[in-house]
Assembly symmetry: C2
Homo-oligomer: 204 residues x 2
């Protein structure tokens, strides 16, 4: 029975993940989740008391998944340029496999800013920042970079990777009008974005 419990709870959680990512917290319906899981509404409330608790469980899983994808960049023993190339390849591949995650995550984050405190409390951003900076302190002298411009650089890197998926609705539509396939566009982007950033920070 413990085995079966796990199975049902797991099925519910996966169905909830799909529906919440697709429709968002406000647009999702408990009935829809139940149907996706092949059970009835009452059982949802048996496992996760309320819609909000179910959503929180899903959201925290998604948040962990996303944050986890940034960690390797800080750990890998690579040069700055290699790290940039590594990041875009890894991250864009991750987003290809989870194309709806950015829109879902960004949206729910904006709609409920209090979540950020909780999420960031688990990660010590300041430390990671310093770690990254000290790892490449010597290298950075060869680039057009100061400690001051690091926030600009890092948000730019994330923007170049995440934005195409966050704005997929529009971008896909525009590209289509010009006969370009979105998947191909992302494939090209893995190297384009990396070289773009590297050239942007290199000394003339």
């Amino acid at each position: 029975m413990a085995e079966n419990d796990k199975q049902t709870e797991e099925r519910i959680f996966e169905a909830a993940t799909d529906v919440f990512i697709e429709k968002g917290m406000d647009g999702a319906r408990m009935q829809d989740i139940a149907s996706h899981a092949g059970i009835n509404k009452a059982l949802l409330h048996y496992y996760f008391r309320t819609k909000e608790q179910l959503f929180n469980a899903v959201f925290e899983m998604v948040a962990r998944k996303i944050i986890k994808k940034f960690a390797p960049v800080f750990d890998e023993n690579l040069s700055l340029e290699a790290k940039i190339r590594f990041f875009f390849k890894e991250h864009l591949t991750f987003l290809q496999e989870n194309p709806r995650l950015p829109a879902f995550f960004l949206n729910e984050m904006n709609r409920n800013p209090s979540r950020i405190k909780k999420i960031l409390s688990g990660v010590d951003i300041d430390k990671l920042w310093l770690k990254l900076y000290s790892q490449h302190k010597e290298e950075l002298k060869n680039y057009n970079l100061t400690e001051e411009t690091m926030p600009q650089l890092l948000t730019s890197i994330v923007a170049l990777s995440v934005f195409p998926f966050a704005a997929r609705g529009i971008i896909e539509g525009v590209l289509e009008k010009m006969g370009i396939d979105f998947d191909k566009y992302i494939e090209t982007r893995k190297t384009f974005a990396a070289e773009f950033v590297i050239k942007a920070i290199s000394r003339p």
Copy 2:
């Protein structure tokens, strides 16, 4: 009375704009909009038959407003570099004044992809594209750019401008942890992003 009509309809429309941008289509409540406008629910339905019609009116206004902000870039008689600097300054200032527009627009766009056809049918993207390309055809030879990489470049430019606002919830939280003010970060970005792009596309 025609004057008064206009006033009420206008008040409703503005209230609806605020509430829809804040909560999204699914999260918005007609009662909430009525309260913001200082009237009652019935009157909402008198002017805009349904919630959906009211939302569509708001959304189309927002879409026009956003698209309008991209037009000058195609018209201005400037060099490519000047255009890039012009864009980031103008566009980031626009977003400072309308900080919630990106998240709202991107989200509703993803949630209902059929909207894109309607919006893009009004704008002839292909033509604008060619226009931009032909305007700078000669110049482009001096940069690391081919016609093929134009989609990558243009989406990158938009990403660098829009993403900080689309992901404001997270970015503001991260910056705060490091003692950096979001407004100051955006102010810096107006020039940082421009120089970033220009360096990225310039020949060594």
